[in-house]
Symmetry: C2
Subunit: 340 residues, 2 copies
DNA sequence: GCAATAATCGAAATCGGTTTCGATAATATC
DNA sequence: GATATTATCGAAACCGATTTCGATTATTGC
């Protein structure tokens, strides 16, 4: 039989308020009655209703998770999903559960803000590599605590985490440089991808930083971050007749697509062209050649996002951002790697 | 300013009940007042509180998502995550949002049932390849509608979806058979993995069905479904000195691990040993050789799970199960494939 | 032993909705 | 025009918790 606080109170011969106080660790209840009530709660398996509690306290202990931008990725995105995994675990330790807005009736209109109010979420995390949609801006400007993952949220109750994209690019260029490559190319995603743009900007800057000159003809772009786009972009590059010695791709899948195109044209990786990807997805270890790449610290990103959100919720922070350091993972696609 | 139904009622000069009726499409309210109220709702951006609604109606429009078993997978599991993606989308179309239990305070004790009551979920989906834990049994036996993914739930308000593991195995054996292989091996996960066991059982049965004899020495097992386990299992097999002509691995990663071990010992795939994996994860396309595998219809599994759950929630079904057909995806790891 | 203080408990208002049922107004029937 | 019927609306109870504040009881000080 489904329990509620009233039944527990009756069974224990106390008032409803006393039971509530016991559940919430109030001090003005004697140890004796506390034990008696606790025992009954144990026996009956009573669990308080979250809706009643949220209604009364205006706290839900729920974190909203929003995948903004390209709807077709979500759970299947290899990078975000790992950040999310770590975020979920850490948020769980902090005492929260996660809610994913999927109800098409509301999500299709993109009104995430209303949904957050509807569910009384204590905060939310927004995962996106795209530029900010208006719907997300509403959230950012609201006083619902928000953390962006790879999304620069700047509202008064907002913050964000991302990898240091300049450092990513800089590590790539350094590695290429030390291997003797001076002619560097780039394969990115579309112009509306913040991530791709930041990586490209960092790359350009790093190239200049190493005293090299960049050749715009070696910079090409696909339609997204997936393998076929990398393949198409590489083909395009090959057809120009002029190839760089080394190419940095804004994602591992773009890199793998590029490798496929090169192989198809009888070119060898890394002998003819060296390639570095980005993200270190699982497949990198199993491809041929295995893919040298930049690994983002996904676990750390998730943990940081969780803690920042927690602090924001508890007014112990004014928001801001955390940028985490990436790591170069040397495999075969650049040739014999020196180790750093 | 945060709105509520009372303020809306005052602004429109009607009673709270009238506003509620309008929000819920009752018929006993005139078109004129309806329009007036709707306009105010639109202007103020009023969104009803889910907790108040849930409290009053005992319906939350929330589906609980539970990852049972190995806690280290969750969002990063390549197969489940795709099923989940499809499930989420379909559940969204049916008007539901998803909640993930992560609060360690409760999840560590495994009491999913309490959590479901706590949140008043209308139903839940349980994702697992392990044998049933007691905590899941409580849920299965309860009258909370439950759907298992790769988990045989048999309660009166339960159901499940899974791929036809016998058919999976049967397609593998048929393919091997037509390629001329008669000596068949198997690499599985641990003995407490339902999935691995079902695939192995199906495999054994199919071997017999094709009039072949099975050799237990060619059946080995790893500690999980991941790559290193496949590598270790294959090494173990190699050390026995006797190798089968073809091997079916219970997961793609196990298969890839086996490939690595074979290569390391100077053996070629598929020339020396043919390999078929299972799941068709993304990496299969990028490895060398590319991996022939069995693809499960993840999208269909997710959609079916959603619809079954919906029917269970609305008492339009007595539960039961759906088994979906797998497909053989021919790539390079078995040699020139005839097309079916 | 009595007043002052502290410990313990409960009544009742509140959170924001839903739903029943009765009241009133509008319309139809003859 | 009186009555029956239907359309429209609102009062109030309810869902299951929290929290304030006052009442009662127990303890302490002297």
């Amino acid at each position: 039989m489904q329990m509620n606080i009233k039944k527990i109170a009756e069974m224990a011969g106390v008032s409803v308020s006393t039971v509530s106080k016991i559940m919430n660790n109030y001090s003005d209840v004697s140890e004796k009655t506390k034990q008696r009530v606790l025992e009954i709660i144990e026996q009956t398996g009573y669990t308080p209703s979250s809706s009643a509690k949220t209604l009364a306290t205006k706290k839900s202990n729920l974190i909203g998770v929003i995948f903004a931008g390209e709807l077709n990725v979500e759970f299947t995105h290899p990078f975000f999903v790992e950040v999310l995994n770590s975020f979920k675990k850490q948020m769980g330790v902090l005492g929260y559960d996660l809610i994913f807005f999927s109800n098409e009736k509301f999500i299709s209109s993109g009104d995430y803000f209303s949904r957050c109010l509807h569910f009384h979420v204590d905060g939310c995390v927004i995962i996106s590599g795209q530029q900010m949609e208006p719907a997300i801006q509403d959230l950012d400007r609201s006083n619902i605590p928000c953390i962006g993952v790879d999304l620069e949220l700047t509202g008064k109750k907002s913050g964000y985490v991302m990898s240091d994209n300049y450092q990513i690019a800089s590590k790539v260029v350094e590695h290429f440089y030390l291997l003797g490559h001076r002619e560097l190319g780039f394969i990115g995603s579309t112009a509306d991808s913040d991530i791709s743009n930041r990586r490209e900007a960092g790359y350009v800057k790093a190239i200049a930083g190493f005293g090299l000159t960049m050749n715009p003809n070696w910079f090409v772009h696909g339609d997204d971050f997936f393998e076929p786009s990398g393949y198409a972009a590489m083909k395009q590059l090959i057809q120009t007749g002029s190839l760089p010695q080394a190419i940095f791709a804004a994602s591992d899948l773009l890199a793998l697509g590029a490798v496929r195109a090169l192989k198809e044209h009888g070119l060898r990786v890394p002998e003819d062209v060296a390639i570095i990807g980005c993200d270190d997805i699982e497949a990198c270890q199993y491809t041929s050649p295995t893919l040298t790449t930049i690994r983002q610290n996904k676990e750390r990103l998730g943990v940081l996002a969780a803690h920042m959100l927690f602090d924001l919720i508890n007014n112990q922070s004014e928001g801001g951002s955390f940028v985490v350091e990436p790591a170069l993972i040397i495999r075969e696609s650049c040739g014999s790697g020196l180790n750093r």
